[in-house]
């Protein structure tokens, strides 16, 4: 009898890129629900807009590159980029702003570098930075968290949708009425006005550690992150690295001068720290890949976030921190190659 020839190993792979990406998306669901709960339905509109532009950009680029678009779309990586971008944007963002970010991320940062697997920079963060440069004013329109005691005018679903589509608010509602400073903004401007941390924290948007509402989203992001850790979609080195890199300087400065340096808890729960630690910095393509390298990469991001928040002119620094460390990845990987079993080490030669 005759048989087909195959190459060892003959067992089927246990996982796929698509299932990894779907699990990342699933891990974001609890935090997305919290996001909608606290900051309104705008998040969903942002997500839809980002997903449409990211998918269209991916399909277009695959077509232009002469490759089957369905291969790229079937791996869901563009949707992950879209979701991360949606998390980074204020819930009130006009569609052209979101679309610009998503398109830039996919077309320039991802496909002009060769597509999935070859991009040096995290596409979502590259897209975010373009928005930051091109439409800085649109990143200020964060609504206040939905908490009973915060004085704030809420938009209806329709009003929110109209804003996404047209970029204009109902006549009776000026920007100041619907928007609130984020906790990081409040902290930054407060400190610039020579207020102390405890004075700034009187603001009702401030919660136990970071900002109210934000903290809850952070908790749900962490739950999703831990789930990814358990499922081994991500490894512990990057989240821990980001945490240590951020909290170590924050802790030291807090101990030295607590009146002008917010606590490590604030740094952890304000802004995009937790999103970054579990979902952004862990993008495998643009991250370091050796175990030690991943910790160093994460640590660098955490430390840069702290530096940008503390010394820079931006309230949060996740996007810049990630992009800067993306550039360091080849060097980190080269310098942190693990010991190959059987090659000379002190243990072996002694």
């Amino acid at each position: 009898m005759d048989f087909q020839r195959q190459e060892a190993p003959y067992l089927a792979p246990q996982t796929s890129v698509a299932s990894m990406m779907l699990q990342v998306l699933a891990a974001l669901v609890p935090a997305a629900i919290a996001h909608v709960w606290f900051f309104g339905p705008g998040f969903i509109f942002n997500l839809i807009v980002a997903a449409i532009f990211a998918t269209a950009g991916e399909a277009l680029m695959m077509h232009l590159r002469g490759r089957p678009p369905e291969t790229a779309l079937a791996d869901y990586s563009a949707l992950v980029t879209a979701a991360l971008l949606a998390f980074a944007l204020p819930s009130l963002t006009p569609w052209w702003v979101t679309g610009t970010g998503a398109l830039f991320g996919i077309v320039v940062a991802k496909h002009l570098y060769g597509g999935l697997g070859f991009n040096i920079f995290n596409p979502a963060m590259a897209g975010y930075v373009v928005i930051l440069v091109a439409f800085p004013m649109h990143l200020n329109l964060w609504t206040a968290p939905r908490m009973g005691d915060i004085d704030y005018e809420y938009l209806t679903i329709v009003q929110s949708l109209v804003y996404t589509l047209t970029g204009s608010l109902p006549d009776a509602m000026p920007f100041d009425a619907v928007s609130r400073a984020t906790p990081l903004d409040a902290m930054k401007s407060g400190l610039a006005n020579l207020s102390t941390v405890s004075e700034i924290r009187v603001n009702p948007i401030m919660g136990d550690f970071g900002g109210r509402g934000w903290e809850w989203i952070g908790n749900f992001l962490a739950i999703g992150g831990f789930w990814l850790l358990i499922k081994k979609i991500i490894r512990w080195q990057i989240p821990v690295g980001v945490g240590v890199g951020l909290l170590l300087p924050a802790g030291i400065m807090y101990l030295v001068e607590p009146s002008t340096h917010p606590s490590p808890g604030f740094h952890l729960f304000a802004g995009a720290s937790i999103l970054c630690a579990f979902f952004i910095a862990t993008d495998p393509v643009s991250a370091a890949t050796s175990p030690k390298g991943r910790f160093i990469y994460g640590f660098g991001i955490g430390a840069l976030i702290y530096c940008i928040r503390t010394f820079g002119s931006y309230a949060d620094g996740v996007a810049f921190a990630v992009l800067i460390m993306n550039m360091a990845v080849p060097a980190i990987d080269y310098l942190t190659r693990p010991h190959i079993i059987g090659h000379a080490t002190e243990k072996n030669t002694s």
Binding site: Y10, P291, I341, G342
Partner: protein, 505 residues
């Protein structure tokens, strides 16, 4: 004498794979009846090829030498049963490289008449180690774990170093394969006897039998036999059930916590590893005077009607063995010699079972895995790599054919266990890539050596030409001097002659 001490080491990475072993271990070992024809490749070991010492038409007895090797760098081949040599010809085989090899084909007469090897007067313990090694060569004993390295040669190499432990490998970590498991269950005493012989040959007093924790029956049976034998030199060690803990270097690391140096052998860290099946074969030859004529092989997979472990004569065509196990099912699409991780896929079942054949796996085609995507650098391959390589980096350099980087990232240290393939979300055939890259690196090295030889030849030629030139110049100079000394008369004479010459032209 006390039991040897050791630290239990840790294996990096590895995979827990579905075992698929119970299908073949539920039955006792079945002995296969003689086939009509035996096909015996003359080289069933690593090393120099054996040379046939019989010709077509010769009658042979069971156990009779039919192909021999000079010296100890090989293993002779014996007729596995009595009959007539009908041909010595090229036949499909399951070797790692190449698909055909010269084989001696024997038509069995069914009588199974045995060649009589005289029994030595005393026990093996009275033999000098050298004489014992000579015996092992003559018995055709090779490593039965799959690498088929001649056992005597392995021991000889080991004896030149500083050996502490003999490790018997009963860690059958690859899915589906269970021939060592059933051997340990049913023939523990023979394994222990073989261990004693090997220790004598090595002149050492410590043997560790390593068995995977998922083989409780084998562990019990070995434990019972050890209790009966009460040999303090032998100890039993349970190792964790994780693939590829049974790789030679990996097992040494697990048992001794020492890393076998890159490009080196376990003997470099004081260990000699032998398969439990080899130990039993040593016993059969030294004590029972039966050369290596048969082995246990696992015939299994969803392509086989009744998976089982079969003791079959070396040279039995795989088709006969599968027929003995009830034949093929409708699922039979791929035929693999060896396990599902490292075995070789062959295209015909005319291939004979050889000394290396520990498993015959017949399965349906692996489910379609979808198109290969780009590497997303998730690094899961590095997590499972037992050698702690970084396949995600190595594979870039393999595709770019960057020889320097391939060396730097340890391509030659890759044991081709296949773990990285199984965890790759992009379904990149990493192991196949690395195999190809290794072959190409070897080619490059060969080419370099050839170029180097050519360069030497060229330079030697240039040197020779230059030497000739210089010599001629020197001679010319000498002639001129002579002419000068001879004086103007001589010059006039020469000029005249020249003129005459040109006039004649």
């Amino acid at each position: 004498m006390s039991a040897p001490t050791y630290d239990l080491g840790k294996l990096h990475g590895g995979l827990r794979l579905p075992a698929h072993k119970s299908a073949s271990t539920s039955l006792p070992i079945r002995t296969m009846p003689l086939p009509a024809q035996l096909v015996l490749p003359i080289t069933q070991h690593v090393g120099d090829a054996a040379q046939p010492v019989v010709g077509a038409g010769d009658k042979v007895l069971k156990g009779q030498l039919i192909a021999n090797v000079e010296g100890a760098l090989g293993a002779p081949v014996h007729a596995s049963s009595s009959g007539t040599v009908v041909a010595i010809e090229s036949w499909p085989v399951s070797r790692r490289y190449g698909d055909k090899a010269p084989c001696i084909v024997i038509e069995c007469d069914g009588d199974d008449r045995a060649f009589d090897y005289p029994r030595p007067a005393g026990s093996y313990a009275e033999l000098a180690p050298e004489a014992l090694l000579e015996q092992l060569v003559r018995g055709g004993i090779v490593g039965l774990g799959g690498a088929v390295f001649p056992t005597a040669q392995k021991i000889m190499q080991a004896r030149s170093g500083d050996i502490e432990y003999l490790i018997l490998n009963g860690v059958e970590c690859e899915p589906y394969i269970s021939c060592d498991d059933v051997l340990m269950r049913e023939h523990a005493a023979e394994i222990l006897s073989g261990a004693g012989i090997l220790m004598h040959a090595l002149q050492i007093d410590a043997c560790i039998i390593a068995v995977e924790s998922d083989k409780p029956e084998a562990l019990r049976s070995l434990g019972d036999a050890m209790g009966e034998l009460n040999d303090p030199r032998i100890s039993l060690k349970q190792v964790p059930t994780i693939y590829p803990s049974g790789g030679e270097d990996q097992l040494v690391q697990l048992v001794t916590n020492l890393e076998v140096p890159s490009g080196g052998l376990p003997t470099d860290v004081g260990c000699l590893v032998q398969n439990v099946g080899t130990a039993a074969a040593v016993h059969d030859w030294i004590v029972n005077r039966e050369p290596l004529l048969s082995r246990i092989t696992t015939v299994t997979g969803d392509g086989v009607v009744e998976p089982m472990n079969v003791r079959a004569r070396i040279g039995t065509p795989i088709a006969d063995i599968v027929a003995f196990a009830g034949g093929y099912t409708d699922a039979a699409e791929v035929l693999i010699v060896g396990g599902p991780m490292t075995g070789k896929s062959i295209t015909t079942d005319r291939v004979p079972m050889v000394k290396a054949t520990n498993c015959i796996l017949v399965t349906s085609r692996a489910p379609a895995i979808g198109e290969e995507l780009a590497c997303i650098r998730c690094g899961d391959c590095a997590v499972v790599c037992p050698v702690q390589l970084q396949p995600q980096q190595l594979f870039w350099h393999a595709r770019a054919d960057n020889e320097k980087k391939l060396r730097e990232f340890g391509l030659i240290d890759c044991i081709e266990c296949g773990c990285c393939d199984l965890v790759c979300p992009s379904h990149i055939p990493l192991t196949a890539d690395f195999r190809t890259a290794k072959a190409r690196m070897q080619e490059l090295a060969d080419e370099k050596a050839r170029a180097e030889r050519a360069r030497h030849r060229f330079e030697a030629r240039n040197d020779r030409l230059q030497r000739d030139e210089e010599q001629r110049a020197a001679e010319l100079l000498q002639q001129k001097d002579q002419a000068k000394q001879a004086g103007p008369a001589a010059i006039a004479e020469i000029l005249k002659r020249k003129r005459q010459q040109s006039d004649e032209d």
